[in-house]
Each structure stands twice: as structure tokens, then as C-alpha cells.
Amino acid sequence: MLRERIQASNYSFLDKLRSIDYLLILLIIAIGSISIFAIYSTEGGKFSFYTKNHIIRLSVFFSLFLVLSFVRVSTWYKNAYLFYIIGLILLITVLFFGISASGATRWINLYFLNLQPSELMKIAVIICFARYYHRIQSSDIQSYKFLIQPIILLIIPCYLVIQQPDLGTSILIAGSGIAIIWLAGLNIKYFVYSGLLLLVSLPFAISVLKPYQKSRILTFFNPDRDPLGAGYQIIQSKIAIGSGGFFGKGYLKGTQSYLEFLPEKHTDFIFTLFSEEFGFLGSIILLFLYILLIYRIINVGLVSRSFFAKLYCFGFATAIFLYVFVNIAMVLGMLPIVGAPLPIMSYGGSSLLSIMLGLSIVMSCKIYNQEQISVY
């Protein structure tokens, strides 16, 4: 009915190039380059396995991002539920055929990459929810009928991910889903009530946690409880960051890192390494780059016409924020260690893939920002 308004087919390639958000691309390249230097440093200044892999992945996924950016936003819209279903199938596959590492079963072996479906699910939930709320009338949003569906859609992947076990990713998935429900305009009272409920049930929730999760939370409140065991990571991370000072110890001179006091330095604790070598100044600059990235994504949402694009961009921006915040707060000792990578910076194919995928949808929203999508 409103098909005539869809003008996308009329876009010339030049128009498309013109409407690309180049600042966003620049930011991705900037953070990507920083990440290469950081990973190079984790290997003690040797060009070896991690650095090579990271560069390959970055270039492959960045190219993928550029290509997928030209996919019409309506195509993303149409396939939104399909993504969700694929994600769910992959998560179930992990349950049965997943490969394990250090006590968790999170990956599917794809030969060229160990795919972590929970990372893809982060994006799938956002795009799925964006489509869901795109169609719902604002008057219907408050009704239980339309509330119960997204909650179920959220609980299933979260439950599957917790089973792996991966509490961190599960919380991040839930966080991005809830963010979209919030953006769609669900009454604030629901958030207040469920927040209170969460607080009340917290003691119960903790009691059903796995012992290692419990110890992580106890360690968060008092890292010195077990300085060589559970508290080791957070203590060493704080030492590394604190000893960096204002200007840092200098590139490749992070003693905490190259003397191997830092655990997981190329994945979850990459910020610690960066902060030790580049200090307060470097950390604030990196933080500023992420803020700019989030701002640009929000900006795309603001200039988009469709609710789908708006909801998706705002939701994805919030998700990126959550990843960055949870990761940095975690390595700074402000949150318990839950295993959350820093977007783009951390070494890890699935995380990088899902971020790039997410960004390409953002870019497609930008390029086709005038595209209207039928609400029916």
C-alpha cells in the first residue's frame, strides 16, 4: 500500500556512497588499528599468532561490514526473525555438539573459526526486537499480550547461554533486549517493579549460582579474600592500570603484561594492557572514541525514518555501550568478573563478527535512511 514511498530502488550508487557515515568508518578503523597494536603488545612485541589472526579477522570482517552495508534495510527487516531462529538453532547446536574450553561449552567448530553463537545472539535479539516493536502500535505496547512475547523471546536464548555456562554474555543479551523494550515505550513502572523484584530475589539468585560464579561475586566485594586465586585477576588488573599513571609505561613496556602477571590479556583484559601502557591519557582517548562511536550510531537512528531503524540503532548503541561499560568496569574492579569482551579491541572472532555485522546494519540504516518500512 505504501510501497510507492519506498524509494530505495531509486538510490543511485553515488547517492549511496554519499550517504555513508564516513566518521563511523573512521572510528571503526581507528579502534581497529589500536586493537592491532594492543594485541601485538600482548605478544611481547612479536608478530605472531594472535596478531596475525587478529589482522586477518579485522580485514575480513571489515570488508564484510562494507559489503553488507549496502544491503537494504528492508532486507534486514524481513529477515530479522530468521536471524533470531538461526541464532537459536546455533545455540541449541552448541548444547549438543559444542566444543569445550576451560569448563565451558560455547563454541561450534567451523574449521576456519570457532563460532560462538551467543555472540551472534546479541545482535539477533536486537534486530528481532526492533522488528517486533516496529509493528506494534504504541497503544498496544502496554498490554500483557504484547509484553509476554518478547519476554519469552528473551528468556529462551538467555537460558541457553547460562547453560553453557556464560553468565556475562547472557546478561548482555538480556540487557540489549530490555533496552529495546524500554525504547519502545513500555511503562516505567514495569521497570521499577522488576528492578525491585530482582533486588529482593538477589539472595536467592546467588544461592543457585555455580560455586565459581559465587566466588567471583564474593571476590568482587573483597579481592583480597583470595589474592592468588579468585581475586588474582582483579588485583593484578588494578595494579597494572594504577601503575600506568597519567602517561602510561610506554608502548610494549607494560611490565604487568609482558611478565605475564595479567591473565586473559588479549581478550577480556585488553583494556588493562592498553591502560598500563598508555596511561590515563590513552584510556580517556579510547573511551572517547567509543563515546563517539555510540554517538554516531545514535545519530544514524535519529536521521532514520523507520521505527525499525531507530529502534535498531538506539538498541545497538546501548548494546555497544553495555559491552564497553561492563568490560571496563570489570577490569577496573567496579563489577564482578563476568567474561565480557571489549568490542573490536578484544581478540575473538565471534565477538568481532557480531559487532561488524551489527555495524553493517547500522550503516545500511544510514544509507537507506529515507526508506520507509510498512508497519503492516
Binding site: 502500535q137 504504541s138 497503544s139 533496552a179 524500554w182 525504547l183 519502545a184 515505550g185 593484578q236 588494578k238 595494579i239 597494572a240 592500570i241 594504577g242 601503575s243 600506568g244 599513571g245 597519567f246 611490565t255 604487568q256 611478565l259 605475564e260 602477571f261 591502560s275 596511561g279 590515563f280 584510556s283 580517556i284 573511551l287 563515546i291 555510540i294 545514535i298 537512528g301 535519529l302 521505527f307 531507530k310 529502534l311 538506539f314 546501548t318 555501550f321 561499560f325 571496563i328 568496569a329 577496573l332 567496579m334 508497519v375
Partner: protein, 649 residues
Amino acid sequence: MLNRGRNIEKGRVITRRMFILAAAKVLLFAGISSRLYNLQISDREKYEILSDKNRIREWKTPPQRGIIVDNFNKVLASNDRVFQLHLMLDEIDDFDVTIFKIKNLIGLDKFQVKKLYKKKERLKPWDTLVVSDNLTWEQFSKINLYLHELEGAKPVLSTSRFYPYSNDLVHVVGYVGDASPKDLEKPEIKENFVPGLKVGKYGIENSQEKMLIGNYGIKRYEVNASGKRISQIDYIKERQGNKVNLTVDIEIQKFAQELLKGKAGSICAMDIYTGELVAMASSPTYDPNKFTHGINQKDWQEIRNNPLKPLINKSIAGLYSPGSTFKPLVALAALEYGILDPNKTIRCKGHKHPYELYGVKYHCWKKEGHGYMKLRNAIKQSCDIYFYEMARLLGVDKLSIIAKRYGLGTNVLGDLYNDEKSGLVPDTKWKRRVLEQSWYLGETVINGIGQGYIQTTPLQLCLMTAQIANGGYKIKPHIIKDDSINYKDVINKIKIDQSGFPLHERNYLDDINVEYYQRMYHKKSNINFVLDAMFGSTNEQYGTSYKSRYDDPKYQFAGKTGTSQVRRITDLDRELDLDTEQIEYRKRDHALYVAFAPYKDPRYAISVIIEHGGSGSKAAAPLASKLIKRIIDRHKLREQFNNGKTSLA
């Protein structure tokens, strides 16, 4: 149109909600920034220290101990090369396996292995465990041969204490051993201690710890999280301990030890002007080298169970009644106080008619008696009867003033040796205070012949003799070279007769303190009288040590014998009159002898004590005679060496 309106409303809601979220994001990022500020700017120093603590580890390197030399710079205690086996604990994966291999290679027994496990428990995981600090060459080469199979093992060429004169000096120099918890409380050890460092256990090694111990070095390494050394950052070199220069002449010391071989006793020799101890021998002796690496049980039992008690440093820790060697001092006291005219004659009538006081009989040692005696003869022939009477007239309190002034009753070497005894010079006050009894005149009488309560060490007797021989001047006895003393000045000062000095307008008969190198006598003639009588005792017929004399004035000496009873002599003993050899060893008298030489222009004083040796004239005086010859032969050399040194300084 309704739809359109709804859609506009929906778009507004989404945008509004987005801005609320954005505000929250800004807040949370601000939180992160402030946390970063806290860690990296406010608390930076704290974390920098923690980071350095992580990455820098220090290893202390032990210093070499200072050497000990004799008067002629001959090394008495050195640092010898030894082969050691160290285990770097941080490089070992399986301690049990490594120890098992080492055990089989160098042949450790069960106890040694147990000890190693105990030692390891006390160490930090990156410390070094010293498996053996003294391997034989054979063991050392075996270790080197199989080194590739022994992870963490490190054969080390190190140094350890070595005493080239082993037995001859142990009572002077002492020995070293592993530090005990009590040793570690001493500040000089606590500050400089490194695990495995040997510390002084006795003698100079112990009391001069501060000089000898040196300062440890520090090697700083950067280490990684698993404790592996990455690079050396810093090396502060260790500093060897200072040299300690003794006054002892090792040749004379060796000779003295030789003379005492097979006997229990002591020989001390002292420069009567400078107070330098030339020799301080004690017998029997033992090998200090055995203690350096921990003495084994068998050797220890051998030393401990020796009835002649090698562990007791008899020169300073052996207490003896001075016997007749005390007589010159009694005579000097009597003369100083003007108690009696030296020409007073007393008749010694032998055992049949002993000296009697309140019904108690006091015998002279000579059965037949000495007949009519004047003071000079009484000293020369050591007549007890004369001294009984003289002591009775003098009184114990006056005697004790003079005895203490001449060096009895106090430590000679201060706190240099922790086992030095001060001996005892009794007086009435002492007895009332300590025994809570009043003094009996009979006790004064036997005190006059150096028996009774009086207790002296051989070194005290040597000092007493030196201070009479030098003309009655106080000297400062010492065994460590004292560069603050100008010996030439000291000798010149003493050799000038100080009798006429107005400086000394005090009563030398009172219990006064005398400064070093100043006179202690009241009348010079009294000193000279005693010296002359001692000359007679050695160099005139009927003198008690006449047989040991030298006629050559170069070696001619003067002395006094002494025989110290270890038990009461009963009437039965007197009747039997057994020879020394016929008496059970433990009941035999101690033989004593004090002397100074040469008689004309004396320079050295010596004391000899042979435990249970019988009479002084037979057992002690001949040894003294031999030693004196050796000392005087070496005098010129010593004088030249010391003068050369002082002129250099």
C-alpha cells in the same frame, strides 16, 4: 491519519527514551573516568610500588668474612675455596625426585635428607637451598657430570671460613657456625644476614662480629609471574668484612700450645708495657674447622667427653687458687702499708711445730722447715709460715685493695670473651654480703699463701706479674691491636719514674682508681724489693725455680712458683708424703708459675698453669723457661715490625 498521529507519538517516545538512556550512559562513563582517575592519578604511587613488588625480586649475596691476622699479619682465619651444591627452588618441578637423585649421587643419609626438607620449609619458593656447603672434589665432579639430569641444581664455588693453624688458636680466635635464632637477634647480624651465612660462635669471631661480618650484596632481577628470572636490573656488590689484627704472635702461640700438649692448662704471655697479649694458650684444644660446616656427632662427643675439658678456655675461664704465686703481692701489700720490716725474722720449724692460731695448726709445705727467714728469703724459698704471720698482721681488707689494683678480681679482656671469669678477691665486706658470715682470722692466714676463697684466672696472674714487673704501673691488656695507642709514648711514659710527680698527690694506700699508664705503688722501693726477691727465687740457690734459670742475662728471668691445692691436706697426707705420680690425677695439686723477663730491663710477663701438674717448680717453671727463651728470641723481630708499622701510621 490516525495512524500517522500514532506514529508521530511513537517516534517521540522512542527518541525521548533514547535521550534518557543516553543521559544514563554519560553518567556511567563519567563513573568509569573517575575510577580511572582514582587508580591512575590519585593512587598511582601505591600501584607502582605493587607493580614493582610483582616484577622485581631481590637476591642477597653473602659477603666474605673479614680475615683475622696475628701481630705479623700472618693469616689466622681466612676464607678458603669450597665446593657447594645449591638448589634453585624456583627452577624445580618435582622436589622429591631431585632430592632423590642428589641423595644417590653424593650419598646423603636419611637424617641429612630429613634436614633438607625441614630447611626447605623455612625458605620462600624462589630461595636457594644449600644442599651441601662443603662437598668433596669427588662429589662435586659427580654432580657436574650429571648436571643435565638435575633440574635447579647449581654447583657453586664458594668460600668458607678456614683456620690454617687449626688447634693452636681456637681459644683465642674462636670459630664460626650456622646462626641460631639467638644470634639473629643481635643487631649486627640481623642487619647483614643472608641465609647460609656463618656467624661467629666464640672468641674474636663472636665478639668482633660487627667488624668481620661485612655487608651483603643485592642482585635485583626482573621476574615474570611464574617467578622466572628475566633480566638482572641491579647489582650492589657485597663488601667483605674488615680485617681484625691481633697482638698474638702465632709462632709463640704455637710453641706454647706445643708445651702444653698432653696436659690440661694454660700459658699466657704479655708485653708488660703495652699490655699486648703475645700468647694465650689453653690445653687441651680442638679443631675449629670442624665447626664451620656443622660438627658431626662423633667429633662432638669426643670433644665433650674429654676429661681434660677442651671446651674450657683455661686462660680466662679457668679459676684457680693462685697459691704461692700470690706471695709477691702479699709481700708488696705488707711493705706498702708498712706492716713489717723486711728484716724481721720468723722461724719456720717444720711440720712438727706448725704455725698455730686459736688452736688451729697451719703447716709450711716444707716438712723440715726453712729455719730463720727474713722477707726476701721467705719469698725466694716460698716459706708459708712467714706469710701466715705477715697476712695476719696485714689483714684481708688491705690485701684485697692491693690485689684488686694489680688486676685480680676483674675481667682482664672486658667483654671480648663471653666466658671470661672475673675470679674472686675476698674481703670482709664481700663475705658479709655474699655468705652473710663474719670473717675469721684463719681465713686471712691462708689467704696469705693464695689459698682459701681467692680465685684467679691465669690471665689475671699474668697481668698481675706484668704490672709488678713494669715497676708498678697500670697497663691496658688487650689482644686486638689498638691503633689509638702509641706504644712508644706508652713505654717512655712508664719507664720514667713517676714517684716524684706532684700530679699524684693522693694516698696510694686508699682504695683508689688509677688511670692507665700511671703508677699504682706507694713507694717505688717496695716494688723493687719484691722484684729482687723474685730474682732470688729463680736465680739463687735454694730458690724454688732455681733449676729453670738462665745465666745468660739476655734470657735471665725472675719468677715465682705456686702449688695450688685442690683439696684440704690432711695429717694423713702429710705422713704419707706421696709423690705426685702416686696420687690420683684429680687430687693432684695444680702447678703454677709466674715470671717476667729479661730481669734487667724486663719486657714480658708470663703465667703458666698445669692442672694437676704437682708442684710449680717441677711442672710449670721448666715450661715457662722454654717459652721465655722463645719470646726473647723473637723480641727484636716484633719490635722492628711494630715500630715499622707505627712509623708508617
